[in-house]
């Protein structure tokens, strides 16, 4: 448990490092804002419309696919840690093959439906 105190401490260190940099920069920077400097950068063109518009559904699909495989990995990791030196290695292996094959069917289905294709 104690080692996670270090994790919390390093979270604070990371934030402090950033803030320190920002504050130092704030003291020595030049600051001459102008209308065109503060406008959105589009290589010199005048920006048309907002950037916050509707984006493609494909990103969402990749997000869902990732979530499903992420959850799968969460189940594979505990299995992987008990594999070495186990008395029932064959049984463990077969159990995991079943688990993975079911999901591979899903991956193949996704591939067949063209869901993995970036458009």
């Amino acid at each position: 448990m104690k080692e996670y105190l270090w994790v919390a401490f390093f979270l604070l260190v990371g934030i402090a490092f950033c803030l320190g940099g920002f504050i130092f920069n704030w003291f020595i920077r030049s600051n001459k804002p102008s209308e065109s400097k503060l406008s959105t950068y589009e290589c010199g063109e005048k920006p048309v419309g907002s950037a916050w518009i509707q984006y493609d559904v494909k990103y969402y699909l990749y997000g869902l696919l990732f979530l499903i495989f992420d959850v799968e990995i969460v189940f594979i990791i505990p299995w992987a840690t008990i594999f070495k030196g186990s008395a029932t290695v064959t049984a463990l292996f077969v159990e995991m093959v079943i688990f993975i094959v079911i999901l591979l069917v899903g991956l193949i289905y996704a591939g067949k439906k063209g869901a993995l294709q970036w458009r």
């Binding site: 509707q54 505990p78 840690t81």
Partner: protein, 160 residues
């Protein structure tokens, strides 16, 4: 230990309030991420190290990202949307119903201190693949169903 609990719990409650009160959806999601992070901290405090890290990996790395993609999918994010009285009443009613269900389950549960044991990941794996083998394989089927459902819905969206 106790101080850590109060800090994390305070963080969790504050971010939960921010999630529902912030008007800007992306900021609300950022608050949700901080809620998940503090809950992960609470898990680790309860020596459920694996659960805490998985909480970060799956919830912040996956679910929050999915929410962000979902927001990018919505149009007119910042327009004032009008909520009529009927929607308001249904919303409040549903929340109250859910709240009462959760509270009633909590009241039935006799809470007691769990004997301090070593919750190692190996122990978890052993239990998962012996005592809970059937649910373990069913999880795989469940994930398959979710995968197929996601593809079907997304394909429908694309064809529109």
């Amino acid at each position: 230990m106790e101080i850590a609990f109060y800090i994390l719990a305070g963080m969790a409650v504050t971010s939960a309030i921010l999630v529902v009160s912030l008007k800007n959806l992306v900021r609300a999601i950022l608050a949700l991420a901080s809620l998940f992070l503090s809950i992960a901290g609470l898990y680790i405090l309860l020596s459920a190290e694996f659960l805490g890290l998985v909480q970060i990996l799956v919830y912040i790395g996956g679910v929050i990202l999915l929410f962000l993609f979902l927001i990018m999918l919505t149009e007119n994010l910042f327009e004032k949307n009008k909520v009529n009285l009927f929607q308001r009443i249904t919303g409040v009613g549903l929340v109250l119903l859910l709240f009462s269900i959760i509270i009633s389950i909590f009241m039935k549960q006799p809470f007691q201190a769990i004997p301090k044991t070593d919750y190692s990941i190996q122990e978890l794996g052993k239990h998962l693949l012996t005592d809970y083998l059937v649910p373990f394989e069913v999880v795989s089927l469940l994930l398959l169903v979710a995968l197929i459902g996601a593809i079907v819905i997304a394909k429908k969206e694309e064809n529109k």
